[in-house]
Symmetry: C2
Subunit: 490 residues, 2 copies
């Protein structure tokens, strides 16, 4: 009875999350500029209403009562997740929720202009406010969860993957990658030939073809465009976006494949539990492991490139830049650059290590907002040997995460990349015909494996638990580094 | 102090309305089918949350207290509208709001298939539920507002325009129009030549050109497609839709012009009051008067056709079907038909009279749901001399209004058409250069007049009050019939 009451409340809470998903997608891909101010306020009101739903103090009592009810394993896990959510929720006042929602929404809307105008000084006061409110949040979470404040933020995005897990892994990457980057770039003989120009409509048509091939269900989702590609919405209505560059189709195609990895995870979540916490994706590292599995492990493989090549010619027409050799070179070009989202899979983790270290320092007080740009540039110099200097739009102004107050989110990208490599390693043993499948563009066995081993577990396990269960190992850099060595130096 | 508290509550209530606008637009123009079920539930939850916002009983006390505060005229009017809204709101339980929202949303999603399959028998049980819940609603409103139950529904869509106002006007139309239709169709020598086929993209490009010409602000709105054109969203972010038919561009172009009339009203509402009840459009008859003013009074005028013709050739290429003479014939072809939304301006009101009479009978109990189809066909025979027989998708299954539980809405269309003609009559006296402006495609004076005389008043006046103020007359059929006689028989 108490469990049923709780799950009813959380079903309605999920409606708020559904609406938030639609509003976010709309704001990012459809909304005209004039709608920005009322939209921010409406989202803040919605978030406050959602927050208030879980504020009812009797709900915590119901959690205690529900524990003595006869529950099946999934219900038990769901109850634990509900209790955690209630506990977190009740630590925050509605005023805090509204303040943070308004601030983040406003800053996210202002940020594109700061970036466009390279206006770091203009953005700094906002970053200060964003850091301040996130410190306030991290302290409240820290008390509630008995975690270090920055750990409490990490825990929001990937429960249970904290600094003690991240540090040894990131240390290994910091040690290995700069050396590997040097070896790989030395080995690369020539720069790839730039791809031919391809009109947006043809790129879209190939994108839809590839999404269908991967098994994306268009009855439960759609593809649109936005300045920053993402995958959002609801498992029953997944909203993917990409951005088309006529002069570089591979960026949009890889973007679509990446987001389709996210989308397949969402569409593969356990149908019975979609409206409950236990039916959700575990966290952002788990999510990134699915998108990066597709983008990096599958779609940059020799077999996928061989499958893709004739379809490129069929959709775009013949061109020397579409040769197998040039595709390989483009898809596996390693080169330190300023921009995280344009980074290859080898240099990418160094972009993340940099952000992780800066955030930690911001949150333990050893770095001031005023000194972020300098610290950024100096770390870029150390890890990647390049320095954006006063081009802040290519430096500390480049990402939407800080304007959106998403501190603690960045490590998910690299943790996801490592997990993706671990999954590939395990999957290859389970699916002996995997290479043949990829050559013929048959993804059914791959997704069948991902569905039953990963997607269908929802949040029943934490990510470290699930990876242990699937691979027999903890989250580690080993498979990722092995793959890099074979792919680029093998 | 009390007034300020109330206006804060209503500002947040408006956020819910804003979100509802986005969700409705998304569902109608973007959402894949799989999202339907969760969307219905999410909207029901949102509506219940909005309803609960206004349930607080102390708000009514604040209304009383606010009356003794020193308020300016707009605040006073706003207070009266807030009090009315609170009174209505507090008459309904959250359970009723959720039940009605779920039912209407579900039926609206099911209806396209019933219509496609001509499945009147399948739809009937749903219609019964829709009528039942709307009767329940009408009785509650009837007690609260001291109105006849069907009047209480009419009052929802256009406050103050009730059966006692509608009956004499509709009686006059019923008397005059069948005769006029006969005279006009007799006078029409030949059928217009069908328009040339025009690809969707070219129609869209002309649509955007015309919207810009009319003065639509694309920083505060956008144009998309949906199966049923509408204008929704928020005055700061107006969402228009149309539907393109390659074989009949005039339907989409006229659709866009119609919806742009709605949109210009929204964009012209008083900026200072957009988040308050007094800043909203008055009602649906007022809204239709703006869309039909543009579509019928302006865009079927001789001057507009002369302005439009070279732009059609410029966008679509030369074709004999784009001659001035053929445009005139197409835009002024009168012919009784089954479908309301395809009806010309002369037969249109008879479609409305039919629906109005059926609804009244459903709500006073003299008509049963089981007998609706027969009653529909018999009235079509009487008023328009045609009978859809068992083609119900061209008869009583054609409109979305009943599936969406919008009983009492239909009269707004014809009341709007009559008001549009009254506005044109008055405007012509105020703007002696109007015809010249239209010939040159200059709409600035027309909209300047509409803004200051109509749009900027928001809900400060009721529609009958505003029409009296602008035209010196009550809402009447006279200007409409005069225009018909001059345009078609003159």
């Amino acid at each position: 009875m108490s469990y049923k009451d709780l799950s009813n409340v959380f079903e309605k809470y999920n409606h708020i999350q559904h609406i938030n998903g639609v509003l976010y997608w709309d704001e990012s891909s459809m909304m005209p500029k004039g709608g920005g101010s009322i939209r921010s306020k409406a989202i803040a009101t919605l978030n406050t209403l959602g927050h208030n739903m879980l504020l009812d103090l009797t709900l915590i009592d119901k959690c205690s009562a529900a524990k003595s009810e006869s529950l099946e394993a999934w219900e038990e896990k769901n109850l634990a997740l509900m209790e955690r959510q209630l506990k977190i929720n009740q630590g925050f006042t509605p005023d805090f929720i509204e303040r943070k929602s308004l601030l983040a929404s406003k800053c996210e809307q202002l940020w594109p202009d700061f970036k466009k105008n390279n206006d770091w000084n203009g953005f700094k006061p906002y970053l200060q406010k964003l850091v301040d409110i996130s410190i306030e949040e991290s302290k409240i979470l820290s008390d509630l969860l008995e975690l270090n404040p920055y750990d409490a933020l990490l825990d929001k995005y990937e429960p249970g993957l904290l600094m003690e897990h991240i540090d040894p892994v990131f240390d290994a990457l910091k040690k290995e990658l700069p050396q590997l980057v040097q070896e790989i770039t030395k080995k690369q003989k020539s720069k790839p030939q730039p791809f031919c120009k391809v009109p947006q409509e043809k790129q879209r048509s190939l994108s839809l073809f590839l999404m269908k091939k991967l098994g994306f269900d268009f009855e439960r989702g759609r593809l649109d465009t936005s300045p920053h590609p993402f995958c959002g919405g609801d498992p029953r209505d997944v909203r993917l976006t990409t951005k088309y560059h006529e002069e570089d189709f591979s960026s949009s195609i890889m973007g679509v494949l990446h987001e389709t990895g996210h989308a397949m995870y969402e569409q593969g979540l356990p149908q019975k539990w979609l409206d409950q916490p236990v039916g959700k994706a575990i966290g952002m590292a788990a999510h990134e492991s699915q998108s990066l599995f597709i983008e990096m492990q599958i779609c940059r493989s020799e077999e996928f490139i061989q499958f893709l090549q004739p379809h490129l010619e069929e959709h775009f027409g013949k061109d020397t830049s579409l040769s197998l050799e040039n595709l390989r070179q483009n898809y596996r070009n390693v080169e330190p650059g300023f921009i995280r989202i344009d980074a290859d899979e080898v240099t990418y983790p160094l972009h993340i290590v940099l952000r992780y270290e800066l955030e930690r320092a911001l949150f333990d007080g050893s770095l001031k907002v005023d000194d972020v740009a300098e610290a950024w540039n100096s770390k870029m110099e150390t890890y990647l040997g390049i320095n954006p200097k006063d081009q802040h739009s290519k430096g500390c102004l480049q990402d939407v995460h800080w304007p959106a107050a998403l501190f603690g989110y960045f490590p998910s990208y690299t943790l996801g990349a490592l997990i993706a490599a671990q999954l590939k390693e395990t999957m290859q043993k389970a699916l002996p015909n995997m290479k043949q499948d990829l050559l013929s563009g048959d993804f059914s066995n791959i997704f069948k494996w991902l569905r039953s081993n990963f997607h269908e577990h929802g949040s029943f396990y934490t990510t470290p638990e699930l990876i242990q269960k699937i691979t027999g190992q903890s989250v580690s850099e080993k498979a990722y580094l092995d793959n890099i060595r074979i792919r680029y130096l093998g």
